[in-house]
């Protein structure tokens, strides 16, 4: 039989250990803070690495043109981003040199949605570009150790570095978004964030190497190395002066993982747009996603307890890991003086979503889309939710549909689902603006009510704020009371404290 007559999936040369010196690992990006610090993690491990550039609308178009037009928009963005990068580099260096010089690493070898099928889009794009043989390493997000083709050793030391980088930058991102809307000197927060990221990069570059699994884990859990780095970041943020006595609507970002995480044209630059429109953004921490992944493992094990004799032991390990993740994030948060948002309890998200969306429905954000919306309302965490739905997403359409039931029961929830497909920005943003107008109104009413309730007027509140210089510091946490907005909470805090 002539076996060569049959089609075979994409094959590529190995990335071998001796190539490490000259090969540059290009990894698909999250947001710029995490990207920079993850780059430092790779460097710490002896790799040459850099994040891919932020995806643009041109990348989306290239992804559609080179892979397939109907794929979900995150798939198009990342495929097109890779394709355009390779095109540019091939024009500069020649295709063969590009294939020798770069290895592309991304998460995306896990089902059940399109996420597990990204390889097909990449392969098509590479074929259309004539770049067959370009090396792609698609890793499984749920495994801390796995084969990376020999040249990339995905071991616990590397994976823990990436997880810790995410936790640190999540905390920093949250501090940054709680600061910028209230800064008194425009640009001060951006400068502090850039310095903070540089401090973290340095800390991760200097991370001691641990050969053994257990020693790596024990060190990461016990060291104060990263806490100290974050405390330095906090001292840098001390210099940013804020005035929180301003009623601003808080907008929580939710939606599909990629779209809620990136900051740039791929999600209409929604974070910056909302801030420019006068909102305080409550960003989507990647740590929530990691916490959720652990919950998924726990749930899958719970379902098997009766039939798998090892399930209980594995369950206990998974629960400990989840607790350690949350505890570590809490350490990072406290190192930033408790200003960053805390992680929601996964059990609570699950319970809130239960009447509308089963906790074991897999793909995308699962039940978290519904859970986060109801959690936000219950905890008065935001005035409004901006939910980023990718065009042609499989699971997101299902949870957005289930949200119809939620909105039927909670008509007061300000919920803005925005479909992101690249060419409907004006429409999506104007829809968001309509709901934001209502959110602004609520923030103002709440602020006025807080003043009325406390018997303060704005001038008196300002006088009290001026008398307490700590409150002008970005790193002073304002206690969250029974109101949503930072402004209203500050009024209540001022009234509760000494005049």
């Amino acid at each position: 039989m002539n076996v060569s007559a049959f089609y075979r999936a994409y094959t590529q040369p190995d990335f071998t250990p001796h190539e490490r010196e000259r090969v540059e690992i290009r990894f698909a990006g999250l947001h710029w803070r995490a990207d920079r610090v993850i780059q430092a993690v790779f460097e710490n491990q002896g790799y040459r690495a850099a994040p891919m550039p932020a995806a643009t609308r041109d990348d989306l178009m290239a992804g559609r043109e080179l892979a397939d037009i109907g794929q979900c928009c995150p798939a198009s963005f990342v495929t097109g981003c890779l394709a355009n990068f390779l095109r540019r580099e091939a024009a500069r260096l020649g295709a063969d040199e590009v294939k020798r010089r770069y290895v592309y690493v991304s998460i995306g070898s896990c089902g059940p949605c399109r996420f597990g099928q990204y390889h097909q889009g990449y392969e098509l794009a590479l074929r259309h570009l004539g770049m067959e043989g370009m090396r792609l390493l698609l890793l499984d997000q749920s495994r801390l150790e796995q084969a990376g083709g020999g040249g990339l050793e995905v071991n616990l030391q590397l994976s823990l570095g990436v997880v810790w980088a995410i936790l640190c930058t999540d905390a920093l991102q949250s501090l940054e978004y709680r600061t910028r809307p209230y800064e008194t000197t425009p640009g001060a927060t951006d400068r502090a964030a850039a310095d903070g990221v540089a401090l973290l990069c340095e800390a991760f570059r200097q991370r001691p190497r641990h050969g053994g699994k257990w020693s790596a884990l024990a060190w990461h859990l016990t060291t104060r190395h990263f806490v100290r780095a974050l405390q330095l970041v906090a001292r840098r943020f001390d210099e940013v002066e804020v005035d929180r006595l301003v009623p601003k609507p808080v907008v929580k970002i939710t939606g599909e993982f990629y779209l809620q995480t990136v900051e740039g044209p791929a999600n209409y630059d929604i974070h910056r747009w909302l801030e420019a429109e006068g909102a305080e953004v409550y960003p989507a921490a990647i740590a929530v996603w990691l916490d959720y992944l652990l919950r998924v493992s726990i749930q899958n094990l719970q379902a098997r307890v009766a039939v798998d004799r090892h399930a209980r032991a594995k369950l206990a390990v998974a629960k400990v890991l989840q607790r350690l993740l949350r505890w570590t994030f809490e350490r990072m948060r406290r190192a930033l003086d408790g200003v960053p948002h805390a992680l929601p309890e996964q059990a609570e998200l699950r319970a809130l979503a239960a009447p509308y969306y089963h906790h074991r429905l897999a793909g995308g954000e699962g039940d978290m889309l519904v859970g986060k919306a109801l959690w936000t309302k219950r905890h008065r965490a935001a005035h409004m939710i901006c939910e980023l739905s990718p065009y042609s997403c499989l699971p997101n359409t299902m949870s957005v549909g289930a949200m119809a039931g939620v909105l039927g029961k909670h008509p007061d929830l300000l919920y803005a689902p925005l479909e992101v497909k690249g060419d409907a920005e004006v429409h999506a943003l104007s829809r968001c603006q309509m709901i934001l107008t209502e959110a602004k109104k609520r923030a103002q009413e709440e602020f006025d009510a807080a003043l009325a309730r406390t018997g303060l007027d704005l001038a008196e509140a300002r006088r009290r704020q001026a008398a307490r210089p700590a409150l002008r510091r970005a790193t002073t946490a304002i206690p969250h009371r029974d109101v949503v907005g930072t402004g209203a909470n500050t009024v209540l805090h001022l009234a509760a404290g000494r005049a």
Partner: protein, 398 residues
């Protein structure tokens, strides 16, 4: 010889034991994974004493069904196999002469697959999994339509691909609506359900083997349909395969191909020896991310078609807005066409049957088949070599 469609098999209800439960009326929407698991439900509910006449499947999908019962209840725009489910729910809620007591709409986290063991997982498409939650919202968003009509809505999440987990999950969901139901009884009934499903699958595979055997002995062509199981629904697949069958070509469905060891050895033995694949059911050579049950089976069936000389044409059916099928378009087409087999895709199938254009395309396909089949068979026989067990008359009843 044609394969009986699942539509006929839905009608084959067995009688079950009588008792109080015999009065209980249970409705099941005839959608999505029900198309590949319905025999389980027939066996299972009959074993629990539900009278066959009281186990009500909604009608096959139709535009009229959606129009009468589902309109205004959709909560989101998506692929038609999910969207049409609102019509099925509506028919079961509003369209019954005798009211139902229970609307039973399971969420299939995974589904059993003959490829299990050779693939990573056999999960359902995320929309197949979550469709009941989505559709339910349309019946609850303003008021509880089920409650108003005295219908209990029961929608367990099932790890259907892991039979050991299923009795517990079914018992937890049904104990409140089926009087006196115990876990032991649920376990026994589930075993009867599995046996019924396996019998059914084995029966259809045997019929496929017989069809292929007949083709092999006459060196005659047949057509393979590559689609999701619910494309057997006339309102979703629009009976395109039926129109081709009218030209005299036997039709096989990718889900029910023969898998007996001798045939597998003939088809995949050389590649296994070369170490290209680990087993006949390994699809890592064409599809490394084998997570989704229906997608995996589709890819495997494409490989089968490429190696089976008498399958001279593959018809691919895909619903509009199907996110799962999109990435498989190129590999499936390449797998099939590289072997010289004809490939035709009917993409973007939606609610309305484009009868005119389907007719023209079917005529074209029939024309190609008539002229090219002989050469395709010769070429593929050369490629695969002698010794196909299907040519052996005694093997046909496998």
């Amino acid at each position: 010889m044609p394969i009986p469609t699942l539509a006929n098999w839905f009608a084959r209800l067995r009688s079950g034991p009588s008792g109080d439960r015999a009065q209980l009326r249970i409705g099941i929407p005839r959608t999505l994974a029900i198309w590949s698991t319905h025999q389980f439900w027939l066996g299972f509910f009959a074993a629990l004493g539900i009278a066959p006449r009281n186990l009500v499947f909604s009608s096959p999908t139709s535009e009229a069904q959606y129009h009468h019962f589902g309109r205004g209840r959709g909560t989101v725009d998506c692929c038609y196999p999910v969207k049409c489910m609102a019509g099925h729910y509506g028919e079961l809620v509003f369209g019954q002469k005798r009211r139902l007591d229970v609307l039973f709409s399971p969420m299939f986290h995974s589904i059993p697959s003959f490829l299990d063991g050779a693939v990573k997982t056999s999960l359902s498409c995320p929309r197949v999994m979550a469709a009941p939650e989505n559709i339910k919202a349309g019946f609850l968003k303003e008021r509880d339509v089920f409650g108003e009509r005295g219908i209990r809505y029961v929608s367990p999440l099932l790890d259907f691909g892991e039979p050991a987990l299923v009795p517990g999950q079914l018992h937890a969901a049904l104990a409140e609506v089926i009087p006196g139901l115990t876990l032991a009884e649920t376990t026994r009934a589930a075993a009867i359900g599995w046996a019924a499903l396996q019998r059914f699958d084995a029966g259809l595979r045997a019929e496929s083997a017989a069809v292929l055997g007949a083709c092999a002995r006459r060196d005659a062509p047949c057509i393979l349909v590559l689609a999701r199981p619910y494309h057997m629904d006339p309102g979703i697949g629009h009976e395109i395969e039926g129109e081709l069958q009218a030209y005299g070509y036997p039709i096989l469905w990718g889900q029910y191909l023969p898998i007996e060891p001798a045939l597998m050895a003939w088809m995949f033995g050389a590649e296994m020896q070369r170490g290209d694949i680990a087993s006949p059911f390994d699809i890592a050579d064409v599809w490394p991310s084998s997570y989704s049950a229906n997608t995996n089976e589709l890819l495997w069936a494409a490989k089968f078609a490429a190696r089976m000389p008498w399958i001279t044409c593959v018809i691919r059916l895909t619903s509009y807005e199907c996110g799962m099928d999109q990435p498989t378009f190129s590999p499936v087409q390449e797998i099939v066409e590289r072997s010289g087999t004809l490939f035709f895709a009917f993409q973007e199938l939606d609610a309305t049957k484009a009868a005119g254009s389907i007719k023209i395309r079917v005529e074209t396909i029939a024309h190609y088949l008539e002229h090219a089949s002989g050469d395709i068979i010769r070429q593929k026989r050369r490629l695969m070599g002698a010794g196909c067990p299907l040519e052996d008359a005694t093997s046909q009843a496998a």
